[in-house]
């Protein structure tokens, strides 16, 4: 009898969205509560891992038509780029700044360059983890 993964796949559909949301939350809130780019990235990656576990490679790739190597590379560029960015302002390399703004919709919001840096980190983590898992899985 052929395996019917209907239960797994159906639940995964919900679960993946919870994980993704949670991942983004962890990534963004890391500055004040546990979390951050790494953990966020790892959680996002595990959501994708879950997709691979419950579906097959081709299906996932069709849904996420990304070259994860390049995702990772973009992440690294972003992370290093924020460092370089501070050079443009004459500040020491990797200087982070933060400020509080009153935004029309969001209210009093803290904006910090760390978030950009961490976005890079998160992207890199996602990219790398998925690259590794995909590469191994695709190997005959």
């Amino acid at each position: 009898m052929k395996i019917n993964d209907v239960i797994l796949r159906t639940v995964t559909k919900i679960v993946v969205f919870i994980i993704l949301t949670f991942g983004v939350y962890l990534f963004l809130s890391g500055h004040n509560t546990p979390g951050g780019g790494f953990i966020g990235g790892l959680v996002l990656a595990s959501a994708i891992v879950l997709l691979y576990l419950s579906h097959d490679i081709e299906t996932v790739q069709k849904s996420l038509p990304l070259d994860f190597k390049l995702v990772a590379a973009s992440g690294v560029l972003l992370a290093t780029g924020t460092g370089i960015g501070s050079l443009l302002f004459g500040a020491p390399f990797m200087s982070q700044t933060f400020a509080y703004f009153d935004l029309p919709v969001f209210g009093k919001t803290e904006l910090t360059t760390v978030t950009i840096f961490e976005a890079g980190v998160a992207l890199a983590v996602v990219g790398v983890v998925v690259t590794i898992i995909l590469s191994i899985s695709e190997d005959e």
């Binding site: 797994l8 546990p34 576990l53 097959d56």
Partner: protein, 94 residues
């Protein structure tokens, strides 16, 4: 009083983990171990919740959710490995 109860609960959870560990070591089959590992994960969730109370902190509530997520993912992976020997499949394998 409350604290004593909580520490008792923690001890009981820990004992559960010990028992599950025995199952992991004894097996005999791999699914047995997977079941036990899953059980450890779920118990750890409880423990974190209790420790959070003891330490009076909300810092570990994320960990509860994460642990839930990951215990799930690990179990899927292990089951698939036991079942098919491959955990990520190609369409052709299906």
């Amino acid at each position: 009083m409350v604290e004593k109860i909580l520490y008792t609960a923690l001890t009981l959870f820990a004992i559960t983990i010990v028992i599950a560990l025995i199952r992991i070591i004894k097996g005999p089959s791999m699914p047995d171990r997977a079941v036990a590992l899953d059980m450890i994960g779920v118990n750890l969730i409880s423990m974190i919740a209790v420790i959070s109370i003891v330490l009076k902190t909300k810092a570990f509530l994320e960990a509860i959710l994460i642990l839930g997520i990951l215990a799930f993912i690990s179990t899927i992976a292990i089951s698939k490995y036991v079942e098919r020997g491959v955990i990520v499949e190609r369409k052709s394998d299906n």
